[in-house]
Symmetry: C2
Amino acid sequence: MSKAIVSKEQDYSQWYNEIVIKAGLADYSAVKGCMVIKPYGYAIWERMQRALDDMFKETGHSNAYFPLLIPKSFFSKEASHVEGFAKECAVVTHYRLKNSPEGIVVDETAKLEEELIIRPTSETIIWNTYKGWIQSYRDLPLLINQWANVVRWEMRTRLLLRTTEFLWQEGHTAHATAEEAIAETLQMLNVYAEFAEKWMSMPVIKGVKTANERFAGAVDTYCIESMMQDGKALQSGTSHFLGQNFAKAFDVKFLNKEGKSDFVWATSWGVSTRLMGALVMTHSDDDGLVLPPMLAPHQVVIIPIYRDEEQHQKINEVVSKLKKEFKAEGIRVLYDEADNRSPGWKFAEYELKGVPVRLAIGPKDLEKGTVEVYRRDLKKKEFVPIDGITNYIKNLLAEVQKSLYEKAISFRAENTHKVDDYATFKEILDKKSGFILAHWDGTSETEEKIKEETKATIRCIPMNGEMEEGKCIYSGKPSKQRVIFARAY
Amino acid sequence: MSKAIVSKEQDYSQWYNEIVIKAGLADYSAVKGCMVIKPYGYAIWERMQRALDDMFKETGHSNAYFPLLIPKSFFSKEASHVEGFAKECAVVTHYRLKNSPEGIVVDETAKLEEELIIRPTSETIIWNTYKGWIQSYRDLPLLINQWANVVRWEMRTRLLLRTTEFLWQEGHTAHATAEEAIAETLQMLNVYAEFAEKWMSMPVIKGVKTANERFAGAVDTYCIESMMQDGKALQSGTSHFLGQNFAKAFDVKFLNKEGKSDFVWATSWGVSTRLMGALVMTHSDDDGLVLPPMLAPHQVVIIPIYRDEEQHQKINEVVSKLKKEFKAEGIRVLYDEADNRSPGWKFAEYELKGVPVRLAIGPKDLEKGTVEVYRRDLKKKEFVPIDGITNYIKNLLAEVQKSLYEKAISFRAENTHKVDDYATFKEILDKKSGFILAHWDGTSETEEKIKEETKATIRCIPMNGEMEEGKCIYSGKPSKQRVIFARAY
């Protein structure tokens, strides 16, 4: 098996990379830090997009598209935004190449007057545009999303999780009041959490970021944090309340119902192809990818096992009927009858690709009226009567979806530790990893010291966390609520 | 009416621009040559994407995603490709900005060793990737499409039709034989033609480009050409047979069934947001946009007319039932009951936005059990019994879709001229415009002379054109088939 992968225990990071590459999700490209999203990976992304897009539209949003290139000066307009985003980015300086004796070279006469930046995020170009779209309260709220590629010049990259170019959606909304903007911020956080838990079977903790971890230009950043199988945290989505910061930077005012002029209130929110990395790290095992049925490109694969063409034909007849029944029930089914690969090769291939359910049908099954059903997540095999199989599979897929979520919830619970002293804090981080619920004094200084000493950051202040008096594990100063510390991707 | 637009007769170019902007399709941006696609325009694009994507998948293609940035040297690998594409393009030379006393500036220490080009098209990066994916005939055919943004540094831009950045899809397939690749090229041309005619109600002529107009790097370029209302031609989609050119440039070989090594055969094909410009120019009139129902974000808009809240409530009850019935039949309906705009304002607004059918319901309609039905394309108003209205509307939408196509076919027929001498040729171009079917001697020299003297180009050699002996209108040399000349966008 050339497709065998290294085990999680042996080398977690390599295990992850091998699954991403060998299962056909993504691969490195000729351009440093940029990835190719392969067809199987893209099919998962399309399912994610469709589900999220439906949720955005149900909550009243429309899609639009804004330019890829942003004038450099735009980044300077919002003071804290420039610090966060105008540093490691791709800069377009020229607009023409020309022939020369050394081949094609940049034409120095075609230098841009002002450099253009490939968008690392689009707040600036969008708020510059909104200025022309918003005059009065009648134009509000403006509820817009865009699906786009962005570029952030990352020095250390990892397939799907952190790449120079990635795909995402970014919502950018404009409101007449702070209350409405805050409600929008929280609504979209809830949309993300629902998507992660329902579609990805990935439990998340909703919380608010500390000042240190806040989006550059935001008043408050909310996030969903999930735990990967190595105990590290992964920020899976963020929703920002931007206050009037960008409206002030780009002078976007509106006349309210009373005829008074005021700056507009803003939010922005995004999730990216990083979610596919999260999906891999949440469920996969040493045999490869494990996919929740709701996102699996193929929910069921059927593999015929036969010795001669007569057997093959008989199986085809049965499968042809099955496929129709499955499709009528909305089950995505693939029948792999390619004759240049053995059944064993196919078993390993779909195992690696995480197809939730595999059916194998051979001559004996035809005699007995059964089919071999293999459940990928539990690696459990059983023989099931072919009569009534459609309903059986439908229930099984729902069961897998639920069971993956429950397994992930249990894993998170086992790896979440309440800690009240710094020595134990450090010990757990080094020996067990996971989330640590601990008291913190609320200062950036303490947060930074802990990060320096342990590489753990405050992932969030949980929104549904109970109030509890305590003392900061580092400074001993009073605290009212535990926060979540973890090492993170 | 601040939304009134200039007439087609008065200024065709301004008429087009005003529709695009005032109907909310697209707008200029702060970045020269780059557009913003506004929510209403993007909703049309989403419908185009969905329909095309379904057709691509039905013909066996999968989506994937390749990097935005391409190393400069890649463009030099295919000799004719570099001439066509590595000239007017956006060049990334640096990857960092820094603070300075004058604000943020490019960090000269962060200069790329090799410049990166923002993709103007992706043949090079994709064939460089395919090299790693293709070893044997088992890996073929490779049928991949990508939805992406591209950048071509255009000097003269026009909203939707020609912009520096635009959105498109680009299919890139790899095959074991020339025959199979040619069949794929033609299959995708037919997909485009079917989409244009069925979904856009836009008749097209399928043909092959002359050597002069061929895609840089192609062996043959096929196209669909449509006629705009000013008689000019618009190339609406292209499908290229690339031969082994890119396989040779990027050294992509495969072992065939006989165990022999050969270069892979290729195709590429694309349509873009330009199709929205074509849509505008094919059907719209002096009152604004006219949309074919299959692509209209709202197929029906319902506007209530009332004097008091009691009337309003009664109308709401009726409309609420109607909306359910419409939705059950798959009719996309918008009920605009906003009370801060008058019915007259709304009438003009949806007229401008090209909503195919408008229903108005007032107290008198309730009494009589009727509804006022306004058909946008013919500007025809009638009263229809509310009983059975759903079926009536369903048929009406199909009728509009068909009727728009027929009107465009008639227009094209009226503006297509068979011409046999150069004097008439020039006269028609200047006075009537339209397509000219004329004989041509098959040489690039003649083609270029005609272009220089008349600005007309050979749009294509029609695929279903009849064979007919004749003499070139310019050189008098023999010709076997008429080709289509026109001035073009």
